[in-house]
């Protein structure tokens, strides 16, 4: 493996470990902080890739990642949690904490299985399972938690995984990856507005307003 692959491996596995930490953590501010760190790590990875391959658009993507998912979105999410920041936490996870950690591990194994059975015939890289795993872990974070904040973070983790896919498929056009950023900002802003609205409507509920139910 070359140095870039090694860097990708390091960042990828740290991301997986951080998603597992998010599964473990119940306090929402900590989950948001962890997500912010993981985004900065991906930005760093893209910075290195951009510098070594001398491709400007990857540098722009790195800057966008750091700015939107490292700085703005976490800042915005923490502003929505305006009162009792330290108290905001996951109250009723749909899956127990330790079992969700173990399921997350099984998902990692499943990602490897899925990759080796399907995509490995088309892609000549053994790093492919990492983004697939991250994406499925993000999905699991969404379905295993009932707090909207955690669900949003799960969605953002999936987007981070999409970015990491960009390394595996190097010919992905810039417009697609940059489009993801706009997409994200839109989703987070709209969810934030909905959370605020619900909070204003339900005055007495201490925890209910953080849950969105369809």
């Amino acid at each position: 493996m070359n140095h870039l692959d090694n860097a990708f491996l390091l960042v990828g596995f740290l991301e997986i470990a951080m998603v597992i930490f998010m599964q473990w953590e119940v306090y929402i501010t900590n989950i948001i902080k962890t997500f912010s760190i993981s985004s900065y790590l991906i930005a760093l990875l893209f910075l290195i890739v951009g510098f070594i391959n001398k491709e400007n658009y990857i540098l722009i993507l790195a800057a966008l990642t750091a700015l939107t998912r490292g700085l703005i979105i976490p800042f915005y999410l923490r502003r929505i949690l305006r009162k009792d920041k330290w108290r905001a936490r996951e109250t009723s996870p749909l899956v127990g904490i330790s079992s969700s950690i173990l399921i997350s591990l099984l998902i990692t194994v499943m990602g490897y299985l899925l990759y080796s059975l399907t995509l490995s015939n088309y892609i000549n890289s053994n790093l492919g399972p990492i983004p697939i795993t991250l994406m499925m872990q993000g999905m699991f974070l969404i379905i295993s938690r009932s707090s909207t904040f955690t669900q949003l973070i799960g969605y953002l983790v999936m987007e981070n995984a999409m970015y990491m896919f960009g390394y595996i498929f190097p010919e992905l056009p810039f417009i697609v990856e940059a489009g993801i950023v706009l997409d994200l900002l839109g989703v987070v802003m709209i969810s934030g507005a909905i959370i605020r609205l619900r909070e204003d409507v339900i005055k007495n509920g201490s925890e209910e307003y953080t849950e969105l139910k369809g």
């Binding site: 491996l9 470990a17 597992i20 473990w24 330790s98 950690i101 194994v109 490897y112």
Partner: protein, 316 residues
């Protein structure tokens, strides 16, 4: 030469183990802005217990009295076979490999548990049931970690693991090594009964390890406690010398190097003690059912080490 070094290692562990615990206790008190007992307090406690009379519960069998001595001697056996002050095998080195060492640890723990059940005390039973539940989850993690290090070095000999990590920067810096090391650190916290798993302070009762020794008194209590200190010290040594910081361990039988290394090794242990104190003073104790989340994370980290190995195909 090797035989006398074995004796030296045995004495090193047996005599310095209580001091290490004393240093940890003293540092904790200093962090809490208290004066704290002397770092030799554990020796005084042991001496006092040795002089006291032994009381045995009426319902207990003779096994209750024998158990502390048996577990103590198992820990003494372990001091002879692990790389503590030397990176080359001593006289008894070939007796067991790493998995065998784990089994001896397990045997000592099992004997303690059986003796605790034998004491017929409710508190001891409570502690035993808790310790077994947590142990049943943490032992497989240790096994996965050993398997991972076995895969790295193609052997399950702790001396070889030390030599490989000491000489190969690639393996030392590899993600496989660090995931396994971190998982081992988490298991080390579980096994040595540190916060956030268990608290041994006066304010909080852990009721895991503490409860198991409830019915012991006198000489047996002293031996039991001394064995516990040795287990503690041995695990700290294994963590530092084999996993986290395998450097400077002498690879040649040279007396001067070994004596210098004994001092360096103790400094490493004090470093780890400081880390423990930081954890002890900054974390609050988990409720019992949250311990399983902690253990699950340790399992995940150990397993991720295996996945990294699978991804890289072993070419680091």
């Amino acid at each position: 030469m090797l035989f006398s070094l074995s004796i030296l290692q045995l004495l090193y562990i047996a005599l310095l183990a209580p001091l290490t615990i004393g240093i940890i206790r003293k540092l904790e008190e200093i962090v809490e802005s208290k004066k704290g007992p002397s770092i030799f307090q554990e020796y005084f406690d042991l001496r006092k217990s040795f002089r006291k009379e032994t009381l045995v519960p009426q319902a207990a069998s003779p096994f209750f009295i024998a158990a502390p001595y048996v577990s103590f001697s198992l820990y003494l056996l372990l001091t002879l076979v692990l790389p503590i002050i030397t990176a080359f095998p001593l006289t008894f080195g070939p007796v067991v490999d790493f998995v065998g060492g784990g089994l001896i640890f397990g045997a000592a723990a099992t004997i303690k548990k059986i003796a605790a059940i034998d004491s017929r005390s409710n508190y001891a039973h409570l502690g035993t049931s808790r310790a077994s539940t947590i142990g049943a989850l943490s032992e497989p993690i240790i096994l996965i970690i050993f398997i991972m290090f076995g895969v790295i070095t193609n052997t399950n000999n702790p001396y070889v693991i030390n030599n490989v990590l000491q000489t190969s920067t690639n393996w030392y810096l590899s993600l496989i090594h660090w995931f396994a090391t971190f998982a081992f650190f988490m298991v080390l916290i579980v096994e040595t009964g540190k916060l956030p798993i268990e608290s041994h302070s006066l304010g909080e009762l852990g009721m895991i390890d503490q409860a198991m020794e409830m019915e012991y008194s006198g000489k047996e209590l002293a031996i039991y406690k001394w064995g516990g200190y040795m287990k503690h010290f041995l695990l700290m040594n294994v963590f530092m010398n084999v996993y986290a910081f395998p450097y400077y361990v002498p690879m040649q039988p040279n007396l001067q190097d070994i004596f210098i290394y004994m001092i360096i090794n103790y400094l490493k242990i004090i470093l780890l003690a400081v880390l423990f104190v930081i954890i002890q003073e900054t974390f609050s104790k988990y409720r019992l059912f949250k311990i399983f989340d902690f253990v699950a994370v340790a399992l995940v980290l150990a397993f991720l080490a295996a996945l990294v190995f699978y991804t890289t195909g072993g070419n680091v």
